[in-house]
């Protein structure tokens, strides 16, 4: 006996319909016609969402289910789907709230391609209404209702799981570290989080093999490392590794430093399917380290130079001293003068000092009434600050030992001026009220140092005058040799 399948389909006691791969109706059975309240003749050739439009969550879930079937060739079910359908005008029009359980089965062709989807959809509205009716005691609930309760639970669990995996995805998407998943031997990006996309200058990498998506990293060894991980399964990576990378469209590639690791992704059988890329952009930290290195080098350089200066002061003081006691006090006083100049510079972030400060710090132990200091503002470079502090120290020491500051009533006057334009700085040092000055028999370290600093280092001139009224001198140096810009 030959079975008439069309009749059988139509006679099925449950609602059935058939869609093609574009989700257009092929046919519906009589029960489907009854539950949807629309004549069977309206359906063939019409798009399913044209017949039952739904822009909400339910419409999306139904569409997702169809698409899963089309993509996988596997059956798919929705246990509990609220989905409103149009009410025919003769029944009052508008939309009617309905609840459904849907099962979607693919029909494949010989090549395994999904050609049709058969939907069996059961209208469970009545049962839902029953369960929603609080007047009905739970014990009296029909088996079908309990089944539906269970279906609803399963459905909610599925939603929760989906939400959870969404949560995970967001976590990865927004993580501060960069992540990417590469699939297959060509390393096709199947996932790249926000940090990764930022790293590669906002380029759309998803769906593209790495050699095509990031051609700028060619020749830096990364493709080869990925090939190696994909082939051997051995993890690899790098710390603070330098990468030259296009960070902005239409701009030159930039240097970045990355911590990263490449790990093989395996399927259940242990076969490698891709590479998991994760890492951190360490560029800022590396730059900070480089700056610190520079600062340390500079500090070391300054310390070594200062030690060389101190060595010179020690050695020269000892060479020219009359005895060990005077050598010791001269040495200490010179080191102190150097130290005070450093203090003045430190207070200005090692940028500059003012000439008045340098003089004041050397004169600080003397009665202010005996000292007169006058001149326009002069800002000294760091090097000139130290050199002039040492010069002033020698002059003050000399005045205290042999000159105006060696006797009560003696006074020191310091006057300076800047000649017109960029003219030189002229400083005049005059001692009065002390003993008569006489030229020293031999040139000590103090006067050699003054000569070397003023004439040699600052390219100026030092003219001492030994007068019966007292010692005086004139120092002339070009402004650009000592003054801060």
């Amino acid at each position: 006996m030959q079975l008439d399948f069309e009749r059988l389909f139509d006679a099925l006691p449950s609602p059935y319909m058939v869609l093609d791969a574009k989700l257009n109706y092929i046919t519906v059975n009589a029960e489907y016609e009854r539950v949807t309240m629309r004549p069977a003749g309206e359906y063939p050739g019409r798009f399913v969402f044209e017949m039952f439009p739904n822009e909400g969550e339910s419409g999306r879930r139904l569409r997702d289910s169809f698409e899963r079937v089309l993509a996988t060739g596997q059956s798919d079910s929705i246990a509990y789907l609220p989905y409103d359908i149009p009410r025919p005008p003769e029944l009052g029009g508008g939309m009617e709230r309905r609840f459904w359980t849907c099962h979607h089965t693919p029909i494949l062709d010989d090549d395994g391609v999904v050609r049709f989807i058969v939907q069996n959809t059961v209208d469970v509205t009545e049962v839902v209404r029953l369960t929603e009716a609080a007047t009905i005691p739970f014990s009296a609930t029909a088996g079908a209702t309990r089944l539906l309760e269970r279906a609803r639970e399963v459905e909610e669990q599925r939603k929760a799981l989906l939400a959870e995996s969404d949560e995970f995805r967001r976590l990865f998407q927004q993580a501060p570290g960069f992540f990417a998943v590469l699939s297959g031997p060509e390393h096709v990006f199947t996932f790249a989080n926000d940090a990764y996309v930022r790293l590669v200058g906002g380029r759309n990498v998803t769906g593209r093999p790495i050699r095509e998506a990031l051609p700028d990293i060619a020749g830096q060894g990364f493709y080869e490392m990925l090939d190696e991980v994909y082939t051997t399964g051995r993890s690899t990576g790098g710390e603070a590794m330098r990468v030259v990378l296009q960070r902005h469209p239409n701009e030159a590639p930039e240097e970045v430093f990355l911590d990263f690791s490449y790990d093989a992704i395996c399927d259940r059988d242990g076969d490698i399917t891709g590479v998991f890329v994760q890492g951190m952009d360490r560029t800022e930290a590396v730059r900070t380290q480089q700056r610190q290195r520079l600062l340390l080098d500079e500090l070391n350089h300054r310390v070594k130079n200062t030690l060389a200066t101190v060595q010179s002061i020690a050695s020269q003081t000892l060479r020219s001293a009359r005895d060990l006691a005077s050598a010791r006090s001269d040495f200490e006083a010179r080191i102190l003068a150097l130290s005070k100049a450093h203090n003045l510079l430190s207070a200005q972030e090692w940028e500059s000092t003012r000439l008045t400060e340098v003089l004041a710090s050397e004169f600080s132990v003397y009665d202010a009434a005996r000292i007169s200091v006058e001149g326009p503002p002069v800002t000294l470079t760091p090097k000139a600050s130290i050199s002039l502090a040492l010069v002033v120290h020698e002059l003050v020491t000399n005045a205290a030992k042999y000159g105006a500051l060696s006797e009560a009533g003696g006074a020191v006057r310091v006057r300076w001026r800047l000649e017109e334009g960029d003219g030189p700085l002229v400083l005049e040092w005059t001692e009065r009220g002390g003993p008569p000055a006489t030229a020293p028999e031999r040139r000590g370290f103090g006067s050699r140092m003054i000569g070397a600093i003023v004439a040699g280092e600052l390219g100026g001139s030092f003219e001492p005058a030994y007068d019966p009224a007292g010692f005086s001198c004139r120092i002339v140096v070009s402004a650009d040799a000592v003054m801060k810009g």
């Binding site: 130079n305 600093i453 280092e457």
Partner: protein, 130 residues
């Protein structure tokens, strides 16, 4: 020649921008029996001395002269056939590759270090013929 000796009367061109360090180096060179040419403590002064045809058997150059690199001067001094050694607070790391094989005086240095570096510079010049 004793191990610490340098040829007597050796003329040493000194370029050093710190007056105190230059003074002390002069004293050391005196003690070693050398004759000091300079010292030039400013870049323009050193350049002027080179332009005037400075004559010396060896040159001791501080690598940083008032904020300017000394290597421009070093090239000219090398052209004059004067062996060079460098004095620096930076150590060998601050010396460009081209000059790496020259003797270095790491500041602070002693008279003994100066004698050794001068002998190295003279020996190096003999080997390379410059």
């Amino acid at each position: 020649m004793a191990p610490n000796d340098v040829p007597p009367g050796l003329a040493v061109f000194v370029v050093e921008d710190e007056a105190l360090v230059a003074l002390n180096l002069e004293s050391m060179l005196d003690d070693l029996g050398c004759r000091v040419v300079g010292p030039a403590m400013r870049f323009d002064r050193a350049q002027a001395m080179i332009d005037e045809g400075v004559e010396a058997d060896v040159a001791i150059l501080d690598v940083n002269i008032g904020g300017r690199s000394v290597f421009d001067l070093a090239v000219q001094i090398r052209e004059r056939g004067i062996p060079i050694l460098f004095a620096t607070g930076y150590g060998r790391g601050g010396i460009p590759g081209e000059w790496q094989h020259r003797p270095i005086l790491q500041k602070p240095y002693t008279e003994r270090d100066v004698g050794r570096a001068i002998r190295e510079a003279l020996a190096g010049a003999e080997r390379t013929g410059d």
